[in-house]
């Protein structure tokens, strides 16, 4: 009788190769953090952590660098774009799961997802050549004439509308992240059991009541996950913003001023950095961005996993 080998050689060989491939993923993440930290250690030692984050100066000549301006720009564009995107994306999700006739669901759904497939550089070009002039000529003056007249909020709308500013960048970003929120929210809404919806209808609820009081509470975790995921995406978006934000390392209250985000600073200055401290500070910015987006994406993943577990119960 032939002896049966427990583990054939091919199995061991293939197992080792595929294991090292999956281990590589782990290695890539940790080596990214390590290499970025290593490269930025010069800047970390010179400027510290708190000091770097709070300093507004960005002066390559005097070799003083601070991340306050790009951090502020990143924060403002991200928050504004979420503010613009969330209502629209939720509206789209509700339309796709409840309002739309059956025939339209797939085509409209695919069309919305196409928005996510368009390369970010196309958003940037479009923002620069098409949206920015429209913003400067029509929308921003209109905003100045209405909202700009209100005493305190008016500060946000001061200055000459150029079109190349925080406001335009946020609008472009919001269009980019709509599909992320919309598709996840739609999938979560669709998971509401029919039994629950039908019970609500039987109690005399209107369609909006069902959406508002049954479906959205049920899909809450999934929607949070989608929003946080979009937040992570908006944080790290480079090209779409690089075209329409200028690159100005100053914090100003007005949304109609050019500004900088971490990504834009990196894209514009990385190849021009001529001193070690300069390059090291840019690596420091990249490290901050990486850690920030990693944490935010982990939170998003946590929500989505919780949501999945909740639905399958």
């Amino acid at each position: 009788m032939k002896k049966i080998r427990r583990l054939p050689l091919s199995d061991i060989f293939f197992g080792i190769i595929s294991f090292s491939a999956s281990f590589l993923v782990l290695t890539l993440i940790f080596s990214t953090i390590f290499v970025l930290y290593d490269e930025s250690s010069l800047a970390i030692h010179r400027f510290g952590i708190i000091n770097f984050i709070l300093t507004e100066d960005w002066n390559p000549v005097k070799e003083i660098f601070g991340a306050a301006a790009p951090l502020y720009g990143t924060l403002v564009t991200t928050v504004l774009s979420l503010l613009f995107a969330i209502p629209v994306a939720l509206g789209i999700a509700i339309f796709l799961s409840e309002v739309s006739p059956h025939l339209l669901k797939t085509p409209v759904g695919i069309a919305i997802e196409m928005l996510a497939a368009i390369p970010s550089i196309i958003y940037g070009m479009w923002g620069l050549f098409t949206l920015a002039p429209i913003m400067a000529d029509y929308i921003e003056p209109a905003l100045q004439n209405t909202l700009g007249q209100i005493p305190i909020i008016g500060k946000l709308f001061e200055g000459t509308p150029q079109g190349i500013d925080l406001f335009t960048a946020s609008v472009v970003l919001s269009i980019m992240i709509i599909p992320f929120i919309a598709s996840i929210a739609r999938d979560s809404l669709n998971l509401t059991p029919n039994l629950m919806k039908e019970s609500a209808y039987a109690l005399g609820a209107t369609k909006w009541d069902v959406v508002k009081d049954v479906m959205i509470p049920y899909a809450k975790l999934g929607i949070y996950g989608g929003i946080v995921l979009a937040l992570g995406r908006a944080l790290g978006e480079t090209m779409a913003v690089a075209f329409v934000l200028g690159n100005r390392h100053e914090i100003s209250a007005s949304l109609f001023d050019a500004a900088a985000t971490i990504t834009v600073t990196l894209a514009n200055e990385f190849t021009e950095a001529d001193s070690d401290v300069y390059l090291s500070s840019l690596f420091y910015l990249a490290l901050i961005l990486f850690v920030m987006s990693f944490i935010i994406l982990a939170v998003a993943k946590f929500f989505l996993l919780r949501a999945e577990r909740g639905y399958s119960r």
Binding site: L7, P8, S10, G15, I17, S18, F19, A21, S22, L24, V25, L26, I29, T32, V35, L36, D38, L90, G91, I92, F95, E98, V99, I110, A111, I112, E113, M114, L115, A117, I118, P119, S120, I121, I122, G124, M125, W126, L128, F129, I178, P179, A182, T206, K207, W208, V211, L235, G236, M239, T263, L266, A267, F270, T271, A286, F290, S293, F294, L297
Partner: protein, 360 residues
């Protein structure tokens, strides 16, 4: 019951308004898509001509010329990114979906790669810059690693093709039936593969690492592969988990090893899905700009040499669009048109295949 009727009416009106607003939101989304696509089409069509693909750029400010250098560079970078990224992603996906199915390790890798998919691509660019571009004049560990990796992957592909050739063609013609002969043949194939890998490493080492000075095409390809790996990994994992477990059990019952089950049953059953995922990941990577900015950089001349800075379509669009010449803008729009519609077409076709194969 007048009170109740008006109350019902109020709620109905409220519902109508809310749902109309959501319809409006959907139209707004479609409006943005139409607006962007129409604009790319409108501007792009006018700049589209044969010269764009066949000629290199004219000196700045002088009309004429094309973007051949960028098209070729883009193809080259994406091709090598695929060569590096797809095998790694697929193997890793196979490992966590098959050998490590259900373990903590598999879950961790799966979650981490989900996060990696969305990590800012510009950070990937800075990372690759630090390991593959910056080390000039010192021992280039990143370069050595990259070459070792490249030769390993090439040897792997070489071995697979050789194996296929021998088993599908040679054995059919010569008709070897003796088991020990097959074993010896297998050994020969393995040895040839390993030797090929070592030869490639020794051959490429001085050619690539020494000559790489600063920005180079390999770094760009590696950066794109970095982005590709988690995408391919996740699709492979998803597609493999769709293969029913009973199919594997049937093969196990016939005495097949796990490797054979994976090779002949699981992969075959999920090939369409995995290939579609690969195509989707290629289209995703083809539109990336940020990771190329400081890895493959840019080059205004035609080159096929990956050791030099090499032009890519996306970086060229960035440079041309922010440049001062009207002619550059036209060409940037034309290039955007090509890249956008290529990506949209690929995405739609791939999605249709997945839809037709797995849901229909």
């Amino acid at each position: 019951m007048i009170y109740e009727e008006s109350y019902v009416k109020k709620r109905k009106i409220k519902s109508f308004i809310a749902l109309s607003l959501s319809t409006l939101a959907a139209f707004l989304g479609l409006f943005w898509l139409g607006f962007i696509l129409f604009d790319v089409l409108r501007h792009g069509i006018s700049g589209l001509n044969l010269e764009l693909f066949t000629e290199d750029p004219a000196p700045p400010g002088i009309p004429g010329g094309g973007l051949r250098h960028a098209f070729v560079g883009q193809l080259e970078i994406v091709f090598f990114a695929t060569i590096i990224g797809v095998p790694v992603g697929m193997l890793a996906g196979i490992f966590i979906a098959e050998y490590a199915r259900g373990t903590k390790f598999a879950k961790t890798i799966s979650i981490l790669s989900d996060i990696m998919v969305s990590v800012p691509s510009i950070v990937v660019g800075t990372f690759i810059y630090a390991i593959l571009v910056k080390p000039i004049g010192q021992i280039n560990y990143g370069g050595i690693l990259a070459v070792a990796f490249l030769s390993a992957i090439s040897a792997f592909i070489f071995g697979a093709v050789l194996n296929l050739f021998v088993s599908k063609i040679l054995l059919k013609i010569i008709k070897i039936t003796s088991e020990s002969a097959v074993k010896i043949l297998n050994l020969v194939i393995t040895l040839t593969t390993v030797l090929f890998g070592i030869f490639l490493f020794i051959y490429l080492m001085p050619k690539l690492v020494d000559r790489i000075q600063g920005f180079n095409g390999w770094a760009g390809a590696t950066a794109l592969a970095f982005i590709m790996i988690p995408v391919v990994l996740r699709t492979t994992e998803d597609m493999l988990s769709l293969v029913p477990w009973s199919l594997r059990e049937a093969a196990f019952a016939l005495g097949a090893s796990y490797y054979n089950v994976i090779k002949d049953v699981v992969i075959r059953a999920s090939m369409t899905g995995i290939l579609t995922g690969v195509i989707l990941s290629i289209s995703r990577v083809a539109g990336e700009t940020a990771p190329l900015l400081f890895t493959s950089f840019n080059n205004s001349f035609f080159t096929m040499n990956m050791n030099e800075p090499i032009a890519s379509l996306t970086v060229t669009i960035f440079v041309y669009a922010t440049g001062p010449y009207e002619d550059w803008h036209t060409q940037a729009w034309a290039a955007s048109f090509v890249i956008t519609f290529f990506i949209l077409l690929v995405t739609i076709v791939a999605r249709a295949i997945i839809h037709w194969r797995y849901k229909g």
